[in-house]
Symmetry: C2
Subunit: 237 residues, 2 copies
DNA sequence: CCGCGACCAAGTGTGTACACTTGAGAATAC
DNA sequence: GTATTCTCAAGTGTACACACTTGGTCGCGG
């Protein structure tokens, strides 16, 4: 029976699982700095925009506070995280450690098929690179790394890497616009996969460290550009 | 003027910052498995026990979901995390990576005074060890590690280590009851501090890895004991 | 004895009401 | 002109109301 047993016509007044939808929506906004840094987030407006009441909005915002994407000042409200260069550099440090661990474990625990699949995935991305937006490429790049994290067999690593990625995505998204950076990314990923296939975990680690280090080097420039974009883009409604 | 301008006698009906209090309280319960694994958490009861309404309770629980201390099943409610041996082992893996990074950075960035202070702190703990409960010793042990994390100069590392520690505290608390384990902990911490003082970051890292590896070795036994305690302790009201 | 459906209690998910806080601007005193 | 206080609107923090979901129990029919 396809539901509709008691109230055939009447749409359910209680939306199913609003919090998760709202959480995902606000998270996306916070990740991409659709709120300006330090800007107060108006719960009423946000709730109206998402067509729910303040309750699920506040629950979602509370989650984001723990993730570090939003801050909460008692009696003042929720605020967009600051745009903090140090914080981003600190996150890159953490990311290096986590990705290093991930690739090492993946080397040891993955099977040959997993590595083939990873290689195939990245070849596919490389092949279609011309037609990909920076947006999409960022997403694929991130996926490459999360796939490795998944091969590590340790869900906690995956979870943490995803958390870090969300917070630095804005910067990486800008980085990857540079054609030079794009090129090196393709190469470096390929190298990492090769090392994994050969089960040379030490080499894979080293390559990963270098891969991220190069990224950090560009990050400062990307941050400048990022600030400009946040503050210079037209404020939509 | 000491407040009380408008409503002199009337106590404020709106408690200040309930969410944080409630969050801290529930977090403590979750960390120490005062809820049995997989047990449904009754919001109404919990709210009554904490003398607040369901609203701040739910906001706090939503935070804990993100921290991995609580799970949420839509339309069923919040549940205590499962007691999952794999998860704990995975957290130890992550912990190793984070603590290794922390100690390396601390070695490089801390100044001599910081290391002296750390050493003094740990000597103090060692001196008072006879009079310390396992509870308190766990807390000091954790503090030793978070102090190093703080010396790393990277607040994100600190944050993550604290998150991991909260989730494995229950097991480490049991581990540390063993007199043998206590002894080795004192020694190993001392060794780490010495390496830090000498600015030998490589050695400090190695010692840290070993320190945690030894801990993991005991963790499985501690988990068995932990399960027994959770399920055999008298359920208070 | 066993399925099957209606009913019911417990409890979650969300909307809403309202007290309180905060910050800004006006009015007043100096 | 400047500092201080008053007032008020905007908006948060929490309690509460109520519809809906879920899981169990009872009764009925096979």
């Amino acid at each position: 029976m396809p539901a509709a047993t008691k109230r055939p016509a009447k749409a359910p007044r209680r939306a199913a699982d609003s919090v998760n939808r709202v959480y995902a929506a606000i998270r996306e906004m916070a990740v991409s700095y659709e709120f300006r840094p330090e800007q107060r987030i108006n719960e009423v407006e946000l709730a109206a925009a998402l067509k729910v009441s303040r309750t699920p909005v506040r629950e979602a915002l509370n989650r984001l506070v723990i993730e570090g994407l939003i801050t909460l000042v008692p009696n003042k409200g929720f605020f967009c995280r600051a745009f903090d260069a140090d914080e981003i550099l600190h996150l890159f440090e953490v990311r290096t450690a986590l990705e290093t661990l991930a690739v090492r474990l993946a080397c040891r625990r993955g099977n040959a098929g997993d590595f083939e699949e990873l290689a195939a995935f990245w070849s596919g991305v490389t092949a279609r690179q011309a037609e990909m937006s920076a947006e999409e490429l960022t997403s694929r790049d991130e996926e490459f790394h999360t796939r490795i994290a998944r091969l590590s067999g340790n869900p906690e690593i995956l979870r943490m890497i995803e958390g870090v990625n969300a917070r630095i995505r804005f910067v990486r998204r800008i980085e990857i616009e540079s054609p030079k950076r794009r090129e090196t990314t393709f190469c470096e990923h390929l190298g990492i996969v090769e090392a994994m296939k050969a089960r040379e975990d030490g080499r894979a680690e080293t390559l990963m460290v270098e891969h991220i280090a190069i990224s950090v080097a560009d990050a400062v420039e990307a941050m400048k550009e990022g600030l400009a974009r946040i503050y210079m883009r037209r404020q939509s409604a």
